[in-house]
Symmetry: C2
Subunit: 121 residues, 2 copies
DNA sequence: ACTCGGTATCGACGGGTGTCAACATAGACA
DNA sequence: TGTCTATGTTGACACCCGTCGATACCGAGT
């Protein structure tokens, strides 16, 4: 039941507005919003994924080739697996250019997480 | 060899400074920092926990009794289990006052997560 | 002391997740 | 065409995690 249809994740192109959510101090999350946001937090809940994400985000030009960030102490298939999860959760987007695949962060999605955790009263 | 030792995870009492971390756009996370931050993200990676956290954060007075927030569609033991995880990850603190137990958010920890996701260039 | 309501812990079950080796796919270039 | 390099996919494995019912713990009244 729970999982059934989940949200579909239409790839959310990097510029799309992410309506969710006001700061958590201002109002409680609806079950649906909680479901959506939890997916994003889950994407960053693994140390390896967090490092991959951080490597992309901090890379010059705002994007990085897999070959630039793959050195995180796990096998290549595992890196690929984690990048896929980050992509599916909407935090990263990828684009193939010739031999290499480049990843960059989806700013609006990350901004939504940051805004939600903003605690100013 | 930097400030290194700040860590230890001594249950982090609510007021403690959380040195981690600069915005992810500015530098890549160290493996150790990634490990620490992943714990916090993991705490918010479940829809039920996210709702509980949001209920505490948005509650009048900045704190809430378990009885005020327990209605999230799962059994009481499960609520207790999730609140424990939020406590252990440092996002919430709890205090018993008479019959009831009150939870409130640990502002510095949440602020660290928000700051890390701040994307301004 | 006893009971009662609020909260935490225990033990078990089922599904999810990170990891790897092996294999598949996609461009580039000879 | 064929080979080489970069990346993704598959299948299998061990482990983690969310959930529940049963039970224990803790204060407050009676």
């Amino acid at each position: 039941m729970s999982k059934s249809e989940v949200v579909e994740l239409p790839v959310l192109d990097a510029g799309a507005a992410v309506p969710c959510c006001p700061p958590i101090t201002s109002a409680e999350l609806s079950p649906a919003d909680a479901e959506r946001m939890a997916v994003m937090f889950k994407a960053l809940s693994d140390p390896v994924r967090l490092r991959l994400f951080s490597k992309v985000a901090s890379h010059a030009g705002g994007e990085a080739c897999v070959c630039d960030i793959a050195d995180v102490g796990v096998s290549q298939p595992t890196v690929s697996h984690h990048l896929k999860k980050l992509r599916e959760s909407g935090l990263l987007t990828s684009e193939r250019r010739g031999t290499w695949v480049y990843y960059k962060v989806a700013p609006s999605v990350v901004a939504a997480m940051s805004a939600m955790l903003d605690l100013r009263d």
